[in-house]
């Protein structure tokens, strides 16, 4: 698999505080990587490091296979865009002037494409209004336009939906999905608004106390979280035939216990089992969300 970002045993120490502790992670190309963790878990620290704002204390990271301490890292960074914490904008300038400034810094020969970018992020009609008078949602969208100015194929967004109204959240989500699908841009999105991230991400990385607890694909997470019925029966004779009759996927965890994935009423399941001479001894429904998965991963500690 090709990776945009690989991080190996990365540590960051601020005086006596260890913000990142031998963190290792992989962001595959084309993914929307949801980076999940509590406040102070180390999400923003990692993002600052990979954006070149701060050096790591120990460990390595590579962008497109180029190690961070290699001379070619500057060329690799040109393929990157990002918003760290808040969108970085000149408040006294208009949206167009902010983009022009970024175009100049990028060394673009002309300002061609600025109108299209403003249109893409829904800021075509803001005219000469200065950025200091923009709403938070407008700033976020302009921040994304600036991140897109260099035609990047990897964008890092740190808490992009913090403070947005419901309409703004929907627009931001649609924009990210559109860019991922149409331009094949890889996203690394840090957030602790898990429900929203669950609607976007193709991969997840869970961080706590500066360490990655788990990396998982959305498919794997769906498997882990999907609605299931855990059951226990009195005999294993005819159990598989009875479970096949339900038409649902199932997994036997022991000769007398198992899980059924999908929706079926308990009385219906009981009837099917009875028709095969099996008695239902114990049954429970399980329906895990990303949030529940995350809390379980943290061992029940959800102080966010």
């Amino acid at each position: 698999m090709e990776y945009c970002l690989t991080v190996d045993n990365l540590s960051k120490q601020y005086r006596s505080y260890l913000a990142l502790d031998s963190l290792t992670m992989r962001v595959p190309k084309g993914a929307i990587y949801g980076f999940i963790g509590k406040n102070g878990a180390g999400k923003t620290t990692l993002i600052r490091i990979i954006c070149g704002l701060q050096p790591p204390t120990k460990g390595d990271y590579s962008l497109y296979g180029v190690p961070y301490n290699n001379r070619d890292i500057c060329a690799a960074r040109k393929r990157m865009g990002g918003i760290v914490e808040t969108p970085a904008l000149y408040g006294q300038m208009s949206a167009c002037d902010n983009l022009k400034q970024q175009y100049i810094i990028l060394g673009k020969p002309s300002f061609e494409g600025i109108e299209e970018l403003l249109d893409l992020v829904g800021l075509k009609d803001v005219g000469k209004k200065t950025v200091k008078n923009f709403s938070l949602g407008m700033r976020q969208r302009l921040g994304i336009a600036i991140a897109l100015a260099g035609d990047p194929d990897f964008i890092v967004l740190d808490e992009p939906i913090n403070g947005l109204d419901p309409q703004g959240i929907v627009e931001m989500r649609e924009l990210i999905l559109k860019l991922n699908k149409e331009r094949n841009i890889t996203f690394l999105i840090s957030s602790h608004i898990l429900d929203e991230l669950a609607k976007l991400a193709t991969h997840y990385g869970f961080i706590d106390k500066g360490k990655i607890l788990k990396e998982i694909t959305a498919k794997e997470l769906d498997e882990a979280c999907k609605k299931r019925i855990a059951f226990k029966v009195d005999t294993q004779n005819g159990l598989c035939a009875a479970l096949d009759e339900t038409g649902l996927q199932y997994k036997l965890t022991s000769p007398l216990e198992g899980e059924l994935y999908g929706e079926i009423s308990i009385s219906e399941l009981s009837d099917i089992l009875k028709s095969h001479g099996i008695t239902l001894v114990k049954v429970s429904e399980k329906d895990e969300s990303l949030e529940a998965y995350y809390i379980n991963l943290l061992g029940g500690d959800s102080n966010d």
Binding site: R48, G52, L53, G81, V84, E85, T86, Y90, D97, G107
Partner: protein
């Protein structure tokens, strides 16, 4: 780096602070000869524009006006990158810290140059009709122009160092102004030290009513090392140079060497600190 410099210049041109400082400096260049003319009309008899330029210390009066303008412009323009977080936009796309620092330094040098040119332009517009053409030796004029420009460049390098290491517009402006004020006080003290003479003449009247001249050792004569140190401080730091240039007659050959050294030292130290800074 050219891209960063272009970006900086585009922002400088759009900066209201920049144009306000230009306007104030132009006003200073216009009013200085007019005020002098009305305060001291005898001085203008036979004084050419070039003499007036030298006599006014090429606009570099003892009060470090240019230092204040340069510090204000640099702190506001470069400080905005820290304040708005736009420095992140530069670093994320692969611009190095060295390039960012040097581009800012070059921009601040250009600001100094523009301030100089604006001063000269408006000074000549007003002075030429009042005083006529150039009569002072061109060597003296060129010397003062070069020394003055280098002095302003060292103000630029110091301002760039302060804003790039303090990472905050307000803090940088306060530090710059406090430094300017303190250096102005110190320069006055150093000047007093170097003006001291080992002996002075005392005139007394004796019992016959005659005036007697006596050469007396100066009891407040500072040590030689203090005199040398004071002279060095006056020659080296831009506030001191500004003071010496405004006195016109005490232009010393060491001044441009010290200016260039100061630019090199502050830029080297600034690059070192800025490269080790954690950006948020």
């Amino acid at each position: 780096m050219i891209k960063l410099l272009r970006g900086n210049l585009a922002r400088t041109i759009k900066s209201k602070t920049f144009w306000m400082c230009i306007a104030l400096y132009a006003a200073y260049a216009i009013f200085l000869p007019i005020v002098l003319k009305y305060q001291n009309p005898e001085f203008f008899n036979g004084t050419g524009t070039s003499e007036l330029l030298l006599a006014t210390g090429y606009g570099i009066a003892g009060f470090p006006l240019q230092g204040m303008f340069i510090a204000t412009i640099c702190c506001i323009i470069f400080g905005a990158d820290f304040h708005n977080g736009t420095l992140r936009n530069k670093l994320i796309i692969g611009q190095t810290r060295n390039k960012i620092y040097i581009a800012n330094l070059l921009d601040s040098l250009m600001i100094s140059l523009v301030l100089n040119l604006v001063y000269l332009l408006f000074f000549f517009i007003i002075s030429l009709p009042m005083c006529g053409g150039f009569t002072a030796p061109s060597k003296d004029i060129i010397q003062v122009l070069i020394y003055g420009l280098l002095m302003m460049f060292s103000y630029s390098a110091i301002s760039t160092f302060i804003v790039m290491t303090s990472k905050n517009t307000t803090v940088a402006i306060i530090i710059s102004f406090v430094l300017l004020f303190v250096s102005m006080m110190l320069i006055m003290y150093f000047d007093e030290v170097i003006q001291q003479t080992p002996y002075y003449t005392q005139y007394t009247m004796n019992e016959y009513g005659e005036i007697v001249e006596q050469v007396i050792a100066n009891p407040h004569m500072p040590s030689k090392s203090l005199v040398n140190f004071s002279q060095f401080m006056l020659d080296c730091f831009p506030s001191g140079q500004s003071f010496l240039l405004s006195n016109n007659n005490v232009i010393r050959w060491q001044m441009p060497i010290y200016s260039l050294s100061l630019i090199a030292i502050t830029s080297g130290a600034g690059l070192l600190v800025f490269n080790k800074t954690n950006i948020k």
